[in-house]
């Protein structure tokens, strides 16, 4: 089975791109499944099911969804292997832009959209910087110049990645992504012993554990303070 991790900011077009790309793979006779990791709510499972793609969803609730991803991806992979899928796609929405759910030697795709603003590539950190393929969506509604500027910014942050433009609505570009994923495919039989591409932060403070009161005496664990003297 092939595992592909796809992540990107909320509403950037991940599900749209995955469904269009999966359709191309399924046309070639491959069995494709998906898993969605999110925080509080997602309807993506319905979208996948409607597209004929078997799906699992995991909501992290009070936990960071990327930490939750790492603790659960192995079980999801086992589910995929048992069901003999050819391709398993994991979708996760990067929320704080700090983590990235990419695993060494597993294809990593970051989906960002042209509408998110030209400073976004700088802001999203490892999720963009460590991806093998960067997919830019929503090019159908902005100008050529904006597409070029945005792509240049992406390239500056991750020069090693292959940058592709996909229209999540029409699926233009999805065929190309599908062939790219198949060229770079790598069969896996387990994730045991695999490693994350980037460490996740060890933010563990009293608020992670449910504290609601404000004030220094309630703050315990890994607490970090702003420097109020420093320039903005």
């Amino acid at each position: 089975m092939n595992l592909i991790t796809i992540s990107g900011p909320p509403s950037s077009g991940k599900t749209s791109v995955i469904i269009k790309t999966a359709a191309q793979l399924m046309q070639k006779g491959l069995k494709v499944a998906a898993v969605k990791f999110d925080c509080l709510h997602t309807d993506d499972d319905i979208a996948y099911e409607r597209a004929g793609i078997p799906v699992k969803k995991g909501l992290s609730g009070a936990l960071c969804p990327d930490h939750y991803f790492v603790s659960n991806i192995e079980a999801v992979v086992d589910w995929g292997l048992q069901n003999q899928f050819d391709v398993l796609v994991s979708e996760s929405a990067g929320l704080c832009n700090r983590c990235s759910p990419y695993i060494k030697e597993i294809m990593a795709v970051c989906v960002i959209d042209n509408l998110s603003g030209i400073n976004t590539p700088k802001k999203i950190g490892p999720m963009l910087r460590m991806a093998d393929i960067v997919v830019i969506t929503k090019g159908d509604i902005v100008s050529q110049a904006e597409r070029e500027v945005f792509a240049a910014r992406v390239h500056a942050v991750n020069p090693a990645a292959m940058v592709m433009h996909i229209n999540g609505l029409t699926g233009q570009g999805a065929f190309e992504l599908a062939s790219l994923l198949m060229t770079g495919r790598r069969e896996i039989t387990s994730l045991k012993g695999s490693k994350l591409r980037f460490s996740m932060p060890s933010a563990l403070c009293s608020y992670c554990l449910g504290e609601t009161r404000i004030g220094a005496s309630y703050q315990m664990g890994n607490v970090k303070k702003m420097n109020m003297e420093e320039q903005p």
């Binding site: 902005v142 100008s143 050529q144 110049a145 500027v149 992406v154 020069p159 233009q172 980037f198």
Partner: protein
């Protein structure tokens, strides 16, 4: 070839001097600019690695990415950009698997080809084939030649080398910038020399195409539909890196379409135009007829059609004049051609 070692021994100041474009890359690491600029990078990275968790920073991948960026920039700057003379589309098959019945379509620099056919007939696929530089490996089985040769696979992967620029009626400016600022941003991202002159030229050209004039300080999101289209076309003609320009159904309102095509031709673009407007279709040198996902035929615009074009343009001017007459509250009556 640049090595990680040579980068490690350089200071930030030296990097800036040797690779002026490195700024674009370093921008994503604002904490680096707060480090001493005269110290070797090796020392700075060692220092930063002790706080890497806060910065989400990995020195090794930073270094690899920086090297990759420099290598690609050197390649990009060293390449002769106006180098696509002709793109050739070799036949594949239509949706039903029937072979396409044309020999080859040549798209030459500085010429216009229109694309006609019902919606959903396969225009996007044709475009995607060109963009991907298909080598018999797309659903149509077509092959694309660049300058009469199969291209090196690099075409697909280099982000700075997109073959096709696109303009369509649905596209809008979304950035919160003024015209001049915006064009400067685009020019800088393209790393052209003499950005100011180019930007002024784009503004002047766009104003020639637009019905109503606009200034360099107008916010791009405040431009009218016609003005936006005019600016997009002038910018794409003069500043886009892509040799091929696809225009998708540009409406007649607020923009001089003939002048727009002339500008793209003068800037030596390979122009493709999806349209059902007879005036636009006949302005082209040739047209591709698409049906059932395949290219059904290639028609070279005939001399007779060119004659019809001037007749159509006559009606078009007449309609335009009537429209203006209506707009200013006048009565419609036979107008003399100017």
């Amino acid at each position: 070839m640049i090595s990680n070692e040579s980068l490690l021994s350089a200071s930030i100041a030296t990097l800036h001097k040797e690779y002026p474009y490195i700024n674009q890359f370093l921008e994503a690491y604002p904490f680096l600019s707060r480090q001493p600029h005269d110290q070797p990078l090796a020392r700075i990275l060692l220092e930063l690695e002790s706080q890497d968790e806060d910065l989400a920073f990995d020195a090794q991948s930073f270094l690899n990415q920086m090297r990759e960026f420099i290598v690609q920039m050197q390649e990009f700057l060293g390449q002769n950009e106006g180098n696509v003379e002709v793109i050739t589309v070799l036949p594949g098959r239509d949706k039903h698997g029937n072979p396409e019945a044309y020999e080859s379509v040549e798209l030459l620099k500085g010429t216009v080809t229109s694309i006609v056919g019902p919606t959903g007939s396969g225009k996007s696929r044709l475009l995607a084939d060109i963009e991907w530089v298909a080598q018999g490996d797309t659903p149509t089985g077509r092959s694309i030649l660049v300058n009469n040769r199969p291209p090196d696979t690099d075409w697909r992967f280099a982000s700075g080398r997109k073959l096709v620029a696109q303009l369509s009626q649905n596209m809008n400016f979304v950035m919160d910038l003024e015209v001049e600022e915006f064009l400067m941003l685009h020019a800088r991202s393209r790393m052209v020399n003499d950005a100011e002159t180019l930007v002024q030229r784009i503004i002047a050209k766009a104003n020639e195409l637009a019905g109503e004039k606009f200034g360099p300080q107008t916010p791009i999101t405040a431009l009218s539909g016609g003005q936006s289209r005019a600016l997009m076309i002038a910018d794409t003609a003069i500043l886009s890196s892509s040799p091929v320009v696809l225009i998708d159904e540009i409406e007649n309102a607020g923009i001089d379409r003939r002048k727009a095509l002339e500008l793209l031709i003068r800037e030596e673009k390979i122009v493709l135009m999806a349209t059902h407007d007879p005036i636009l279709a006949l302005m082209a040198d040739q047209r591709i007829v698409i049906s059932n996902g395949g290219i059904a035929k290639l028609i070279v615009t005939t001399p007779e059609e060119k004659l019809m074009l001037s007749e159509l343009e006559h009606y078009d001017r007449k309609m335009m004049a009537f429209r203006n007459q209506l707009r200013i509250g006048g009565l419609l009556h036979e107008l003399k051609e100017s």
